[in-house]
Structures are given as structure tokens and as C-alpha cells.
Symmetry: C2
Subunit: 460 residues, 2 copies
């Protein structure tokens, strides 16, 4: 009897595999190509090797930093080594915000006892005055609540504590509904006389790691410093405030914005054999926040774009139209690379589609297609992606870096992976290579290769 479980399990999985094969017939000529591409992606593991190299030898790479400059060289060299066509840089001036040497915070409970609070300055914030800010905390869940409280906010550190809604399946939607606190918290706090903004981290993971991200100022409103606090820190603050007694926080950091720096978008391509002037852009962003290693955001999208071209080249697949991998600079705090790419004149060239990968390294589930004609045209090919569970094509898609191309009516698309884990890592020290599964990353690269190749062959 001992071997019976093996046989039964094995049998059921052979049936499964057969069923999978049966369900994906009928989309020739791309079915067999797709299987070759997936096999090469999983077998070679090149995407993971590249990402590991980028994470380990470059690390995080905020726009304007020496590491971002190193990342530009890294990407150019990688594509040159792989023998892509037309590998080059397109210069762009980028913001240069620096966190400074330290950041710290304490909370004083109503009895005056001091506890550490895990915070991190938000990207773009000014620093605190020398010696920091110490003030009473006012907790609010929304700007509406803050403005109702009005005068009560004066002289306070305004603590924005509305969590991402965990009941939503789409974590990006939950992010979208909470991130106003991070982006505009400092402005709204200052409007009512607050001295600083402290924002509950945008994450779905309950740990003590704060998550940074962009914030902005309004020139007509006084600038006050802004930071994110970890979930555990935010919950502790809320618990202390629940007593109704005054709770004070001290926070201190020396962030500042320096003059703009020259950086670059990095690109390489497989030149089309029949209509080289028609270009499909695939890409991610090369910059990251100055946290972790920028592995999922967005090292993954960069190496998947490079790997997609490598897969096609290695398998001898020559696209009819040009497929160009673009590593955009400065998605996180300015979008200067995306804007520069779209604004640059490219005489005789026609952009057919732009496809972004910037939702992490996770198992691909399909593609978002932000143009209904393109969606109708591409939907019949979805079954090609079924054998590795990436056949969910959706109307609606795009990405920050490629969004400026919308003005030229370029159909915008994106690789959509599973999204449950993304915000565990996003903009934090959690975002290291440890959060990347090599097989899932490879499947994403394969999906991007197959999808862009189909567009290159079929047109839109």
C-alpha cells in the first residue's frame, strides 16, 4: 500500500496535463512558439540571474543617485552583450531628492514613556528643522475629517491612518483609494496649521517596515515635512490615541531636494524584418525608491523586458515589426523619462503599441489592453497563454511610464501578474530579491515575449 498515494497523485496530474494540452489547441501558429518560449524562459532562468545581478551589484537606485547612474550603465551593457539592435541612451534631466543620513521617531505615551516608531521620510519631503519636530498627534481617516476638525489640527502632527481596504480583491484599487493621504497629506495638514504629516504605510503586510513613496507640495501652501509610519507603528499610535489623552511624537530627518541631474532612458531592440518603422515598446522603469533593492518595483519589469527580447533572439524568432525594450528613468518621482520618451521626435517611426510591466514579478495572469480596437484584435490570441494561466485579457490597461504616449493615441497595455503580494514589498526595505520567485518572474518574461511577438507579426 505504501506506494499507492504516489501512483494516484501522479495519475491525476498526468490527466491534468493532458487536459491542459487539449484546451489550448487551435491557436496555431503561436501555440508551439509559446511553448518553446516558456520552456526556454523556465529552463535558462536568465531573467532571475539578471535581476539578482541588478539587485546585488547595483541595489536600489533612486533618480539622481550614483546607483541610478550605475543602473543605466548596467542596462546598456546587458543589452549590448545580448547583441540587441540600436542599443542606446536618451538623456533626460531628473529630480534629485536625497533622504539624508538619518531618520528617527519616537512616540511618548500619555505617561511620557518613550517608544521607538518605525518611520521613513516620504519622497520629495523637506527635512524637519534641526533637532526635529515634537508635537501632539491628531489622528484622521480622511481630508474631510481633517477639515471638519479645522482648528484642532493647529500645531499638531497630523496622522493619516486610513488603511488600504483589505476586502478589495484588487490591491492596486485599495492602494488607489488610500494613497491620497501619502501624496497630499502634507498639503492638507499644512492648510489647517499642522506642523507635519505622518501617514500609515501603504501596504497589505502587517510588519514594522515603513513604506515610502511620492508626496507633493502646493506652492500656495506652507511646506511641512511628511513621513510614513509602519503598520505596527500606526496601530500602536492609534491604540495610544484611543485613550483620549494627549500623545506626542518626535520625528527627525534631514531630507532635501538638490539640483536636477542628467540621467537617461536606456533602450535596445530587435529590428523588424518587414516593417521596422513600426515599433512595439515593452518596458519597465529602471529607477526605484531608495529602499530594499527595487526588485519587484521595478527591477522585475526591466529584466522581463530584456529577457523577452533575449528569448525571441535565442529562439531565432525574427519579428516583422520592431520590438523595443525601454528602461524608463524616474517613474517614481517625476516621470521625466516617460515624458521625454514620448516627447522625442522619431521621424519615420510609428508606435504600434506600448506595453508596461510594473506590477511585480508574480505569476502572470494576462494583459490589460487600454484600447478597445486593440482589445478586440488581441483577445482571440488569449488561449495561447492558457497553458501557463496567463490568458486573462482585460479591456483597460497601461502604465505610468508609457502613459504620456496616450497623447499620440498609442494603444497602451500592461502585463498583469497576480497582485496579492505586491504591496507587501512596494517602496520598502522588504523589496529585495527574496520576494521574487524565479519561475514566476520567468513566466512573466515569457508572456511579454509571446504577446509582443504576436503584435509584431499581426499588427494592430
Amino acid at each position: 500500500m505504501r506506494s499507492r498515494p504516489f501512483l494516484l497523485i501522479l495519475l491525476s496530474h498526468i490527466i491534468l496535463s493532458t487536459a491542459l494540452v487539449a484546451q489550448t489547441q487551435g491557436s496555431e501558429p503561436y501555440d508551439s512558439l509559446a511553448r518553446q518560449i516558456v520552456k526556454e524562459a523556465l529552463g535558462s532562468n536568465k531573467a532571475y540571474e539578471m535581476l539578482s545581478d541588478l539587485c546585488t551589484n547595483v541595489g536600489h537606485r533612486l533618480s539622481g543617485s550614483p546607483a541610478a547612474a550605475k543602473a543605466v550603465q548596467w542596462a546598456e551593457k546587458k543589452m549590448q552583450e545580448l547583441g540587441f539592435d540600436n542599443v542606446h541612451l536618451e538623456p533626460v534631466m531628473v529630480p534629485h531628492w536625497v533622504r539624508g543620513p538619518f531618520e528617527r521617531a519616537y512616540v511618548f505615551d500619555p505617561s511620557g514613556k518613550r517608544e521607538n516608531l518605525a518611520i521613513t521620510a516620504l519622497g520629495g519631503t523637506i527635512g524637519t528643522p534641526k533637532g526635529g519636530i515634537t508635537a501632539e498627534v491628531l489622528e484622521v481617516k480622511s481630508f474631510e475629517e481633517l477639515h471638519k476638525l479645522g482648528e484642532k489640527a493647529k500645531g499638531k502632527i497630523v496622522f493619516f491612518s486610513r488603511p488600504m481596504d483589505r476586502t478589495l480583491v484588487n490591491t492596486f484599487e485599495a492602494y488607489g483609494r488610500a494613497v491620497d493621504q501619502r501624496g497630499a497629506g502634507a498639503v492638507e495638514a499644512a492648510k489647517v496649521g499642522g506642523v507635519a504629516a505622518l501617514v500609515r504605510s501603504m501596504t497589505t503586510r502587517r510588519d514594522n517596515v515603513p513604506h515610502t513613496g511620492a508626496m507633493h507640495y502646493d506652492d500656495s501652501v506652507e511646506k511641512v515635512p511628511a513621513a510614513a509610519v509602519s503598520i505596527i507603528g500606526a496601530e500602536r499610535l492609534s491604540a495610544l490615541l484611543a485613550s483620549g489623552k494627549p500623545v506626542r511624537v518626535h520625528m527627525e530627518f534631514s531630507a532635501q531636494t538638490l539640483p536636477d541631474v542628467e540621467s537617461a532612458n536606456v533602450m535596445g531592440e530587435l529590428r523588424g524584418t518587414e516593417k521596422p518603422e513600426e515599433v512595439i515598446v515593452i518596458g519597465g522603469h529602471l529607477d526605484s525608491w531608495d529602499k530594499g533593492q527595487g526588485a519587484n518595483d521595478d527591477g522585475a519589469g526591466c529584466v522581463q523586458s530584456i529577457e523577452a527580447l533575449r528569448l525571441l533572439k535565442t529562439l531565432g524568432l525574427k519579428p516583422k515589426r520592431t520590438i523595443r525594450a525601454v528602461m524608463f528613468m524616474n517613474e517614481e518621482n517625476g516621470l521625466r523619462g516617460g515624458i521625454a520618451y514620448a516627447e522625442k521626435k522619431r521621424p519615420g517611426e510609428k508606435a504600434v503599441a506600448a506595453i508596461e510591466s510594473d506590477m511585480g514579478s508574480f505569476q502572470p495572469v494576462g494583459f490589460g489592453i487600454g484600447d478597445s480596437a486593440a482589445y478586440e484584435k488581441l483577445l482571440p490570441w488569449a488561449p495561447v497563454f492558457r497553458f501557463f494561466n496567463a490568458d486573462h485579457f482585460q479591456l483597460g490597461g497601461g502604465g505610468a511610464d508609457i502613459s504620456p504616449l496616450a497623447q499620440q493615441r498609442v494603444p497602451l497595455m500592461d502585463l498583469i501578474p497576480e497582485v496579492q503580494r505586491y504591496f507587501d514589498y512596494h517602496h520598502s526595505d522588504n523589496d529585495t530579491i527574496e520576494g521574487v520567485n524565479e519561475r514566476e518572474l520567468a513566466l512573466g518574461a515569457a508572456a511579454l515575449a509571446i504577446f509582443s511577438y504576436i503584435i509584431a507579426q499581426e499588427g494592430l
Copy 2:
């Protein structure tokens, strides 16, 4: 310009969400129920709380161990507290294999230099003689190769080094094609005079953690001890052997099989309101290997089964047919619980379907249905699961614990999650709560609740 990326990203995701809603219309009455169930699962996070409790307070729980007995009590108490109907144990005698107090191994390179080798005894193996076994190593990739070498294996430790095929999308298929080495390696080694079997771990992760699992003996062949070696250890061994010079390994462990122990399957149900005698079984296995915490294999399946009932009960959904959650005992090394469940006479009761969750806690992608009539009947409901990417229904499915029910022609089914990460954890110290994402686990529980409820209402 600073806030422009936010707005664009946000906009694209609102479009995405709208598209998702649009695509899942038309499967009433279950669409809105499914959304309620998913919302409750994600919002309450109960599955993760239960799994965390099981992992932390019970830990790993091999059949016959005190921890397995504690797990039985844990599961019974949990279902009683939740107010399920007919919560009870069904006793079953299970094997009692114990690893013993230590296990260690060294490799001696051709110069005699000693290095540690990360090994673990395979489940069911005999121990080594006191003081261990030291012998030269013979590496083979298959039983065929071993038997061709014949005499050369005499007195050697046979090292089975064929890896799981990483190019296969389905990791369970890759497992199925490699696991003969683990199951039958000791028998095949002994047939040609080998003194022990050492098997490359069945895993997709390159680390130094060995993965255990079941092996078996053949009464007509001498019993020799068998162990698994980590991937890094296996690669080191292969590299040393590549020199062509003799490489010796020492291995030592005191594993043994003790007399059978009484244990139990644990079950509870939501009694059907209209046809209570018709039963849908949902379940996983309560036992685990004596490694890690048995989180993905198969604590996840157990808590998902309990949580599926809790979700229905909490939302006031009363199934027409009975849905029974069964925590099977002894899947890993005997299947005694699954066999006992199937063999037990249940007068007046009719099993409608049996659904297993034993492929980990990962994002659900759909269901395997091992019966073509049931598949045809259930396929039209697949779109209900689309909004959380769990709509891939496949013909072919089942699971080890429920497999003995095949003799009674019960349609067998299983919850299918993403499979890329499972073997990173499987049967090893990696299989802890750290490898579980709470949102993915919750979505799996929700999928199981919706699927079993539809069967309970519609029949098969």
C-alpha cells in the same frame, strides 16, 4: 507635474476594475454571493489566523506523533467553537515512523578533506548501522542507468541525482517525473548491492535545505537506509564526482518504525436543509512531515476547509445539501485516513462530490474536476470565479486523501492554486507560515466555499 503619475495610474486601475466587473456579469444568483464570500474571507483573515495558530502552537505533526494527536484535538475544538454540525472524530490506526535524535552526513573529497552535507532521512527508512555508513558514491540519473552499471554499485552509496525538470510549467508534473528516485531508490540500490540510497531533494529551490518524503521497501529485497540531500549538497557531490576520482560519503541516522498508533480523521459539517443525506466532502490532510510547520502541506488545505464552512455560516448561507469538512490523517506515509474514510459504512448517505485542497496556500486559479459529467455541469459556473482569477476549470482532478472514494464512483475534484512556489517549501524546514500569503490563502478558502456551495445548491 508631480501628481500626474498618481492620477494616471489610478485612472488605469479604475478602468481595470470596471472591466473586471463587466466581465463577470451573467452568472446570477452566485455572482453577488461570491463577492460577499470573498469580501468576508479577505476582511476577516480567519484562515490565516487559524493557520498561524496551528503552525505556531502545534507545529509539524507526523502521523503517530504527540503533535499529530494535538492537531486532532485542535481541529475538533476549532470546529466545535465555530458551531459546525456533527463535529466528531473517526479513529484510524496509523504508522509511527520516527526520525530519531540526529542525522548527519559528510562528504570526503578525493583528497580526503571533509565537508558537511545537508541530508535528511526519508520517511519510512531504516536507520544506518550504529556509527553510520561510510562508502564510495556512485551517481546515476535513473534506475535504467543504475542497472546497466550493475556490479559497479556493489558496496556503494547510490546517489540519484536526476533533477525535477525545471522547463515544465506544471511543477507537480516535474515532481511526478522525478519522485520515483525517492520512493524506490532504496529498493533499486539494494537490488544491485548498494548499501544506501542518497536522493537529490525534490524541490525547485536552490538552497541547502533537504526535503524529506515517503520511500518504500520491497519485502523481497534487502532494506538499506535512504536519505535526501539538499540541492546545494547534491550539486557539490556531482561536482566532486565529475573529477572521476573516488568520492566517499559518511551518513548516519537512527530512524525507525514503531508499532502503529491510534489517531483519527476529524470532521464537521453544515447540515443540508433539503437533502442532508447528500454530502459534499471538502478537505485536506492534518498530518505533515516532521519538518518546518506543515504550513503549505497541508495546514493550508485544512484551514481552508474549515474557513469555507465558516464563511458560509457567517454569511447565513444554508446549503441544501450537506457540506462536510474532513481533516484526513496520514496522507504523507500511508493514506490510512483516506482509506478509512472511504471504507466506513455510512447508511443512508450519498457522497455527491469530494474536493481536496492539498497543493498549497497560493493564489487559486480554479478547480480540477475528475469526472466529465460533473465537469460539463460545473463549467458554466466558472465565470463566477473570474473576478478573483480563479475561473480555470479543468477536466481531471482529485487528491490523495479522497482518491479511495473513486471506487464508489464519487466525482473527485481539487482546488488548484498557482503551483510555481509549492516545491520550494514541500516536505522541508522551509514549509513554515512565512511561506504563506494571507490574502492568497483567504482567496483559496473563498473559492472552496463558493464551489462547494454551488454543488450543494445545484447537485451533480
